[in-house]
Assembly symmetry: C2
Homo-oligomer: 486 residues x 2
C-alpha cells in the first residue's frame, strides 16, 4: 500500500511527479523491486497516462538523482531503458524528452471530448449586449496595466480590501461625477465583477440579503436578471412601460425598483424627467430603494445625455455600472455606488477579503481612467456606434420604410417595431438566413401580459457586435428578412 | 421640473455633464433665465458639488458651444464670469481649468469618512494564508500579460465561455498532471475566481445546488468555509484528526467530504496513504464525492511530495486549486477539476457567460504556465519558504526547545503545539507584542469538542507573510512570547 511521490526540484526542467511505489495501491498492480526498476516503471506510467506530455523535457540525471537520493547512474540507466523502449528520446544538447509518438492518455480513461458549450457562431451576429470585440484598445490597456503593475506597492499582492482598490474608487468618484452626474465619494463605492455580481451581493440570502423583495422591474428587461433574482427567492413585479419609460406611478409597496433610466433596456427610451423626480419621491415617501442599472450610459448620440438619477438623491439610489459595454466583458469589473447605510452590509456580503475582482485589473482600470484613455476610448466608440446606428436607420428607411425604429438616441442596440403577430416569423426568417437576433418576447417579464401591459412585437438589433467590416453584410441580410410594407 | 443635461463630446478635454435647468427640480432652487446665466450657474454648481474636480480642464469654447447649439461668445462669457468669481482659472496655453482652491464637496453632503475596514497592520504579521507579497514576479507576469494580450484573437474581448479560456484549461491539464499527479482533460476543468467561488458553485442553492450536504470536513479548517457552507444551508460534520490525518473511517452517510490531503489545514500532516485509498473506497461504495482542497500543494520541502488524491479516481474526486498561495491572491483565479458527471451542472451554476474570472488574466496565466515562468516562480518561492521554515525551526530549538513544531514538511505555515490551556494566553501575549497570529481554536469546527475529538492547544504561524527583511524580527518577537520550558 505504500505510495511515494517524487519531486524533481531541479533547476533545469519542469516539476515532475513520479509514482515510485512497489505496488500501486488502488489499482492493485505490482512489480519487481529495485530503485532502477521502480523509477523506470514510474516514468513509463507517467508517459503512458499522459501526465508527462510528448515533448516534455526530463530533469538532468544529476538533479533527479539528488532529489531521490539515489545514484546518478541509476537515473541514467532508467532513462536509457525508456529510450530503448521508445517512450523517451535523447538528443545531444536538448536533453531527454518524452517521445512525440507516446500515446497521451490510455483509451479507457479518455472522456468523450464534448463540443464546447458555445455553438458555432452565426453568419451575422446582431445580438444585443456586446461591444465590438475587435475594438478593444489593446495598446492603451497594456500601457495602463504596465504602469499599474510597476507602480503598485507590495501590499497589492497580498489580501485585498473587499471594497476594491482605493485608486479605482477614487478614479470612479471623479469620472462618474463628471461623465454621469453621480455624486459620491470613494468610501461609498464597492467594486464587483459586473452587474450580475452586484445583484447577487444585494439580494442573495446566502450573502446575508442586503435588500429584500418584492422588487419592481420594467416589464421588459434581461431574463437572466429575473432568473437570478428568482433563484435568490426575490419576487419581482413588472412595471408597465409607455413612451415616457417605466410607469413609476404604479409603484406601491415594493421595497425596491430596478430601472434603466438612461436608456430603457431593451425598448430604448430615457425615463421622463418628471418620472425621475417621481421615483425619488416614491423612495423618500416609502423608504424604498432605487437600483439604477447604468449599463450603457456612456453611449448617447444626441445632445442631451441623461445624467444618473443617483445625482438627485444619493441616499435613495444604488447606482450600478461596469466596463462590459464600454470596454469589454473580458475585463470583469463593475461598481456599485451606495447610499451610506448599505455600505457595511454589502461589504459583509462580499467577504473579509477581495475574493472576486482581479486586483491588478482594478489598478489598471484606475490608471486607464485617470490617464484619459477611458475617455478617449469611449469617445472613439461613440463615434463608431453612432455611425453604425445611422447606417441602420438609413438602410431601414430605404428598404423597410414602414418599420418604426426606436431607442436609437443611445446605446448599442435599437428596437424595430413589427406589425402585431409578426415577431416570431421574422425571428425565424432571420435564423434561417444565419442572422442571430432576439425578439422582444425574450425580454418580457412573465407577468407582463396583464391588462394595461400591451404585448409589443419587435426585434432587438445589436449593432455593436459585428466587426466593422462585417457590419454592411449583416445590415443587408437584416433588410432581407423584414416584412414588406402594407 | 424640466431637467436637461449637456455633454461636451469635444475632442479635447474630458466628458462633462452640466445641469442647465432653469429650475433644478428636486432641490427646488431656481434662478433667472438666459443661456449664459444657465451655463454659468450649471458650471458653478458642478465645481461646488465636486463633480468637476480642481484642476480639471474644461472644453474649449468652440466645442462646448457646438454641443450646446449656442454661440461661442456665450460660452466665453460664462467662463470669464467664473474666472472672475474664482471658480475657474485661465492660463495661456493650458486652457480653462477648475481652480485648485475650489471646495470639492458641499459640507452638508459629505459623508463622514470612515477608516477603511482593514485596520492598521500589526508590527509582525505571522498570520497564515498569504504568500510573501514582496515576491510577486512582476516582470515575468507582465511579459506573459503582454504576450497574451498581443496574441489574443478578437473574440477574447467578447462574451466568455463560462468554463474558462481553453488556453488556460489546456495549460492546467498538462501542469496539474506533471506537478500534482492530476489526471484530467481540458473539458473537465472549470475556471473560477478562487476556492470560495468553487465552494459556492458546488453548494449554493441559489446556483442550483450541484452537491448537497451533509458534508464531512476535517475537525480543524477555515471558519470562512464553514460559514459559507452554513449560509448555503449545508450541514457540515467534523471528522476527527490524528497523526495520520482525517479519520476517514468515520465517514458514513455524508454525501461528500472536504479534505486537505497534501497538507492538512492547519495542523499540517499529509493524509496517510492507506487513508487516501480508504476515502476512495468509501466514495465508490457510497456514491460519495471527495473534495480535494489543494491549497498549497506546490510547496513541499521534503523529498516525498504528495500527489493529488484525484489521480486515484478522477470520477470520485473534485480537485480544487488556485494561484492564491502560489502566486498572489490579487490574481483572482482558481480551477476545479471535475468528474465528468458534474461538468454540466457546474457550468449551469456559473451562468451562460463568464461573469467572474478576468479573461485577460486567464490568458496571462496560461502563458505564464506554458512559458515555464510558473515553475520557475514556484521553485524560487519553495526555496525561500523552506529557508524561512528552517529559520523558524532553529529559532524555536534555541529559544523554546520544549515546543513541538508540526506541519513543517510543506506549505506556508507551521503549528506550534502548546501545553494544554495555554493557547489563549500566548495569543494574548503575542497581540500585546504587536504580533498577529491565530490560535488553533480559531480553526476548530464548533461540533468538534465531542468525545474522541481532543481539543488541542497551539498557534498557527504563517512564515510566508512577512517580507524577507522583516522576518528575522518577527521570529525574535515570536520566541519572546512563547512559554518557558517545564
Amino acid at each position: 500500500m505504500a505510495r511515494s511521490w517524487v519531486n524533481s526540484a531541479e533547476r533545469i526542467g519542469a516539476d515532475l511527479h513520479l509514482d515510485l511505489s512497489e505496488s500501486s495501491g488502488v489499482s492493485g498492480a505490482s512489480g519487481p523491486g529495485g530503485r532502477r526498476a521502480a523509477l523506470t516503471r514510474g516514468l513509463r506510467e507517467a508517459v503512458r497516462d499522459g501526465r508527462l506530455a510528448p515533448g516534455t523535457r526530463l530533469p538532468p540525471y544529476r538533479s533527479l538523482a539528488a532529489d531521490l537520493g539515489i545514484a546518478r547512474n541509476t537515473v541514467a540507466d532508467a532513462y536509457a531503458e525508456l529510450v530503448a523502449e521508445g517512450w523517451l528520446t535523447a538528443r545531444q544538447g536538448s536533453g531527454t524528452r518524452v517521445a512525440e509518438r507516446a500515446e497521451p492518455l490510455r483509451r479507457a480513461e479518455r472522456v468523450p471530448r464534448k463540443a464546447p458549450p458555445r455553438a458555432r457562431g452565426p453568419r451575422h451576429d446582431l445580438r444585443q449586449g456586446t461591444p465590438d470585440a475587435s475594438a478593444f484598445p489593446r495598446a492603451a490597456w497594456l500601457a495602463s496595466y504596465r504602469r499599474a503593475l510597476q507602480q503598485a506597492p507590495n501590499e497589492v499582492f497580498g489580501p485585498g480590501d473587499p471594497a476594491g482598490r482605493i485608486e479605482l474608487r477614487e478614479a470612479l468618484t471623479e469620472y462618474l461625477a463628471r461623465a454621469r452626474g453621480v455624486r459620491t465619494e470613494p468610501g461609498r463605492i464597492v467594486i464587483c465583477s459586473g452587474f450580475a455580481h452586484a445583484l447577487r451581493l444585494l439580494f442573495s440570502q446566502e450573502g446575508g440579503g442586503v435588500l429584500r423583495g418584492p422588487l419592481a422591474m420594467e416589464a421588459y428587461g434581461l431574463g437572466f436578471h429575473r432568473e437570478l433574482l428568482a433563484a435568490a427567492g426575490v419576487r419581482t413585479v413588472p412595471l408597465p412601460l409607455d413612451e415616457d419609460g417605466a410607469r413609476v406611478d404604479r409603484l406601491a409597496r415594493e421595497r425596491a425598483v430596478l430601472l434603466t433610466p438612461a436608456h430603457q433596456f431593451p425598448t430604448g427610451g430615457p425615463l421622463h424627467p418628471e418620472r425621475r423626480a417621481a421615483v425619488i419621491d416614491w423612495a423618500r415617501a416609502r423608504g424604498g430603494v432605487v437600483l439604477e442599472d447604468d449599463y450603457d450610459g456612456e453611449f448617447r448620440y444626441d445632445r442631451k445625455p441623461v445624467g444618473a438619477v443617483q445625482g438627485l438623491d444619493p441616499e435613495r439610489v444604488i447606482f450600478i455600472g461596469s466596463v462590459s459595454k464600454s470596454l469589454s466583458p473580458a475585463v470583469r469589473l463593475g461598481w456599485m455606488v451606495l447610499p451610506e447605510r448599505f455600505v457595511g452590509d454589502v461589504l459583509a456580503a462580499k467577504g473579509e477579503r477581495e475574493a472576486w475582482a482581479s486586483v491588478l485589473d482594478q489598478l489598471s482600470l484606475a490608471d486607464f481612467i485617470v490617464s484619459g484613455a477611458y475617455d478617449r476610448h469611449v469617445r472613439r466608440m461613440r463615434q463608431r456606434y453612432r455611425s453604425r446606428r445611422d447606417r441602420l436607420v438609413s438602410a431601414l428607411a430605404a428598404h423597410a420604410p414602414d418599420i418604426e425604429v426606436t431607442g436609437v438616441a443611445a446605446g448599442l442596440h435599437a428596437v424595430l417595431r413589427l406589425p402585431p403577430g409578426s415577431e416570431r416569423s421574422v425571428v425565424k426568417a432571420a435564423t434561417w438566413q444565419g442572422i442571430a437576433l432576439e425578439g422582444l418576447a425574450e425580454f418580457r417579464h412573465p407577468e407582463a401580459a396583464e391588462p394595461g401591459m400591451p404585448v409589443r412585437d419587435g426585434i432587438v438589433v445589436g449593432y455593436a457586435t459585428p466587426s466593422e467590416h462585417a457590419y454592411g453584410a449583416a445590415l443587408e441580410a437584416l433588410c432581407g428578412v423584414l416584412p414588406p410594407g402594407p
